[in-house]
Subunit: 167 residues, 2 copies
């Protein structure tokens, strides 16, 4: 189980770090990709290494996509390569987990029409406008798609992710 | 499995939050106790609620003790009630997990003599002076005691904790 995370500066630290450490605990390697290769810094000052740029990523090399929140998704959603990567995971039916502002990337990719999902409260309006069946719940699972609202939902978010990806 | 965490202001955010969310994912309730009841703030600005003061804690109510790092252990180790709580877990043979500066509390409690353990590199000297069998490894397990050095060790730390406490 190889996991790809897309993020950028001003990520919500806990929404990247908690899943990151959790996947490593389980023995699953995690690749973090960003606008360019190198260090990205979270809203709370944590630094993580983006080992590859979006352009260097072949999504076929990965089994799951993680989209953490914070202000990073606002940056990532403008990148055509990020849109293509997200579409690959949906087309292949691979798990996609997005939390907080993370679903904004899926909105930009036009992937949420008719799908059950949740997100940070300030994103709810544009999620509904994109045709999603929005619910204000700690976690929403719709086939390959797992979404949550905020850091306090992380336990439920990770519980559903692990159910989905464990052999 | 009821977990007690002892911490204070200036905790290392990831060393408290990652285990906290991980235990909740597993369905294990976590009580955070500090000098006094109320909000404590990490080095990176995350706020968590300490539901009880040290004086309000009966360690017999808990099955495992978590000691996260940062600057908080320097505060907690001066509290006689924290020392008594740590001694209860050792006397009862219950799991105790300490990371980074967390083992300082166990040093002050005189609990590490002859025990295999690790800690943050700047704490190694006083750990050895306290009679511990120090090793520079990502995680050291000695019977009920699980120790790690730093945030990047969290995956190994949590892996060994979960092995120890899962039914």
């Amino acid at each position: 189980m190889r996991i790809l995370a897309l993020s950028a500066d001003n990520f919500e630290d806990s929404e990247l770090l908690v899943p990151y450490y959790r996947f490593l605990e389980e023995g699953y390697p995690v690749e973090i990709a960003s606008i360019r290769q190198g260090t990205i810094t979270g809203k709370h000052g944590y630094e993580v290494n983006a080992g590859k740029s979006l352009g260097e990523i072949d999504p076929a090399d990965f089994d799951m996509l993680l989209l953490p929140g914070g202000k990073a998704p606002e940056t990532i959603r403008k990148e055509q390569r990020a849109i293509e990567i997200a579409r690959h995971f949906f087309a292949a039916g691979k798990p996609v987990a997005a939390i907080c502002h993370g679903p904004q990337i899926l909105i930009s990719a036009g992937l949420l029409r008719g799908r059950h999902a949740t997100c940070y409260k300030s994103v709810a309006q544009e999620m509904k406008a994109a045709g999603a069946l929005y619910a204000d719940k700690e976690v929403v699972v719709d086939s390959n798609l797992i979404t949550s609202r905020q850091p306090s939902d992380i336990p439920a978010f990770m519980r559903e992710i692990m159910k989905k990806i464990r052999k």
